[in-house]
Symmetry: C2
Subunit: 329 residues, 2 copies
Amino acid sequence: MRPATKVLALSGGVGGAKLALGLSRRLCAGELAVLVNTGDDFTHLGLRICPDLDTVLYTLAGVVHPGQGWGRADESFGFMDELRRQGGPDWFLLGDRDLVLHVERTRRLAEGERLTQIMSDLATRFGVATRLLPMSDTPVSTLLDTDAGALEFQHYFVRLRAMPKVQRLHYAGAAHARPTDEVLDLLRSPALEAIILCPSNPYLSIDPILAVPGLRMALRAARVPVVAVSPLIGERAIKGPTTKIMQELGVDRRAAAIARHYTQLIDGLIIDEFDDLPETRAVLAAYGLRWSATRTLMRTLEDRERVASAALDLARLLRAESTLRWSVG
Amino acid sequence: MRPATKVLALSGGVGGAKLALGLSRRLCAGELAVLVNTGDDFTHLGLRICPDLDTVLYTLAGVVHPGQGWGRADESFGFMDELRRQGGPDWFLLGDRDLVLHVERTRRLAEGERLTQIMSDLATRFGVATRLLPMSDTPVSTLLDTDAGALEFQHYFVRLRAMPKVQRLHYAGAAHARPTDEVLDLLRSPALEAIILCPSNPYLSIDPILAVPGLRMALRAARVPVVAVSPLIGERAIKGPTTKIMQELGVDRRAAAIARHYTQLIDGLIIDEFDDLPETRAVLAAYGLRWSATRTLMRTLEDRERVASAALDLARLLRAESTLRWSVG
């Protein structure tokens, strides 16, 4: 029997995957589940590609390319070279080994299988004990209205290198999506102890998950502490175009803005030491949030474990407090 | 404007492709079209694979693996290694570069495009002036009833290495297939001068083509000489399991049996020098066939050109004779 899941982490791609790895190493095998954004998924060359799920899978399996944080360390590009030679679209890099996942997933989806089951089987193949849970088995697509027109996420992010100015985001298909039974069961499980929001882009990685109808409410109904790890260090993002988008959307670009963004959802926030300032503390206190500060930049495995510990410790603290509160209330 | 097609060759995979290359070098660019067996096509890992079409394409493009006669010379196997590592089916070898064709074809077929159009575009991409014509845009599947049960061709040929004993062949879907407009137009074209049956396996490569309703009749109605190149040298096949199958089906395994097999269809036969014996001549004469003998084993490019010349010369002779006959008749 697999051990009961104690912690659920919400994650996008590279940055979230790093914390997920840290969490998996600070918990016993099988105690972690990762609820992964599928808003970046798209169909390319007829293949169904799930960048965030695959990044989390490769990271947890220890086969991820250490430099880039996505794709595989041991990879070849014969397919890509040949595609380019034949004049095919070469803006999205597909490694030869990586292709196995896309081909297999596409085949199984075409046969009517659920993405959740497919990813579960792939995790088993890769020897990953952590559960990988897509946010939904229904396709949801993050669309960006930009000054270069409406763009699917990968076209914005990879093809156009996140250069267009973002005016608005929406999550196409979200209204018709539903959480999976696996996720709802997990959120109702008495074994669950904490929910962690990884330091992924709030707009591009976490919001699509929260846009799945019923999921935000189910997260709160779980009655376990929800702790976010801020993706910002000062006004800079740990990874990717987070602050660029925040600026374009006209929101403040500091840890306090993350607190505001996740208000009503989170109980605690991990901020970077750099942001541990009186003004930040005042804002977090005003939101009624517990916080703790650590170095959030995750370069080494030790960094990932340290940030994971900070998030787990804060969740434990919150849990102890709320248990106390419930028992006296 | 592309030059009018003068010669149509019917071909399977490796052996047929070699002659097709010889023919293409003995004709002007664009004068050759190859009508290719698609009975070997199958769906593997969700990808639509057309082994004979791809072998002919790679051979004519000069990128085929010279040793094996199929697949590509410059190839890597990252996908295959990873598929094997993940426990996927590894009996059908798919190179990383080769995969581009399968992915692209699968995508375009799923979008409702015709195989004929897809292969025409691929030929252009590879700089191949010879027209590549699938025998039909409707899937037809060569099935073998064997002592190991009913098998799709690739399972029989590749997975089980042609070891099961063949009892009967049929071409599933052939009844509902139809020749393409491209092939029918070509067979009605006044520019067409000859039809060549490549030394492919009569049962596995040529018969599936002839099983497409209307195609055999359209070949005869073209009123141009039809010349076959025998795939046998004595009782041995140039390539593949031809004689093994002939033995299992209980037919004679000599050039004369090829003449019998193609009776009513061909006007001439190229036989190997080894088979140029009085008894063979007598049988061929009894069938009313013209013949000519050459070394049919095609190891070098010169071999391919020599056999191609023999077939084209015999077709020209037959054409001259029939023109004479028609003018006096």
